[in-house]
């Protein structure tokens, strides 16, 4: 059996979130298994199934090169710019 990753949307307006995986012989079975396993308590109203092999993940070794350069770009955040409280609607 193949491994499939399961993503659920709890309610409309939210995005799908990874909740776990299921084993199944094909996508159709994976979808039903995900429904029977992950929505027993009304946890979702929409399911995505992804073949685990199809997920491309960043490498933890690249963590520093990928994600740390954003650390000092504080000018991307609004609180970088002090403005007098008297100024409204900005």
């Amino acid at each position: 059996m193949k491994l499939y990753e399961v993503f659920l949307r709890a309610k409309s307006g939210l995005s799908h979130k990874h909740v776990g995986s299921v084993h199944a012989t094909d996508a159709e079975m994976a979808m039903q298994n995900a429904r029977d396993l992950y929505t027993r308590r009304e946890e979702g109203e929409s399911i995505w199934i992804v073949d685990s092999c199809q997920i491309i993940s960043s490498n933890p070794k690249d963590k520093a090169a990928y994600f740390e350069p954003a650390e000092d770009k504080i000018y991307r955040h609004p609180d970088f710019y002090p403005i007098d409280k008297k100024v409204k609607n900005i």
Partner: protein, 252 residues
């Protein structure tokens, strides 16, 4: 009970017992399914089916005006059960369980579709809720029929055997009677002839996609509605009713 009520009672009880007995059978797979995901999935079906039994039995006691759901489930003897013989047949292997399930799922889908418009308001409400459940059951059992029939040769062989065992139990689902005919005319019950046509359409369409051959004529199951059951039911009830029989009048 006035006659008019008795007919309604009998009709509801037949539907209720079908689900009660099937639910008891299905729960036998809990914990020992062919793989984990399927174990969970079939238990979901069992939970739905027993839930339907609860609702239908509840309607039956309302019509009768006395007793409780559990009195009906645990304190009747086998000759008082009105289910069709199909649902009391043993689970057998997974092919037998799934073929039985597909036969009943397909029946349930058409039954509840019809009963959504029943003039018996509570029955219509139960049908509406249950229809969603059985639509999913049928989607699942249909796929299992395909997986078995079109997968390995062993799968096909086992499914063919299950079909041979169970095929002759279908007729009972669509048996008519004077009493039932009246209920149909009053808009309470689903028309068995119509159900049979729809059912046969469904089943033959699916089986035509597979090498499964339907066995010809031969013996036909009958009698469930009148309380004539197979030997299996008595033994099943023996186990199911044990606590209520051995320790009467307890709170559980």
């Amino acid at each position: 009970m006035p006659n008019k009520n008795e007919a309604r009672y009998n009709y509801i009880l037949n539907l209720a017992d079908n689900t009660l007995v099937l639910g008891q059978r299905l729960s036998g797979w809990c914990g020992v399914g062919p793989f984990l995901e399927e174990d969970l999935a079939l238990t979901n079906t069992a939970l739905d089916i027993i839930g339907q039994a609860q609702m239908l039995l509840n309607l039956a006691i309302e019509i009768k005006g006395e007793g409780t759901v559990d009195d009906l489930a645990f304190l009747r003897d086998q000759h008082q059960f009105k289910n069709v013989l199909l649902v009391e047949q043993p689970n057998g292997d997974y092919a037998q369980t799934m073929f039985r399930q597909y036969m009943i799922d397909s029946y349930h889908v058409h039954l509840y579709r019809a009963l959504v418009d029943s003039s018996e308001k509570q029955l219509a409400a139960i049908a509406e809720k249950s229809l969603k459940e059985v639509n999913y059951h049928k989607e699942r059992s249909e796929l299992w029929i395909k997986r078995m029939a079109l997968g390995t040769s062993e799968g096909l062989e086992r499914l063919q055997k299950a079909a041979n065992n169970l095929w002759h139990y279908q007729h009972e689902l669509f048996e008519n009677s004077e009493e039932l005919d009246k209920l149909v005319k009053q808009g309470i019950a689903a028309d068995p002839n119509q159900l049979q046509q729809n059912w046969l359409n469904d089943v033959s369409k699916l089986l035509a996609k597979t090498p499964i051959k339907t066995p010809q004529s031969g013996w036909r199951a009958t009698g469930g509605r009148l309380g004539h059951h197979s030997e299996y039911l008595g033994k099943m009830l023996c186990e199911m009713q044990f606590l209520q029989r051995a320790y009467p009048n307890c709170e559980w």
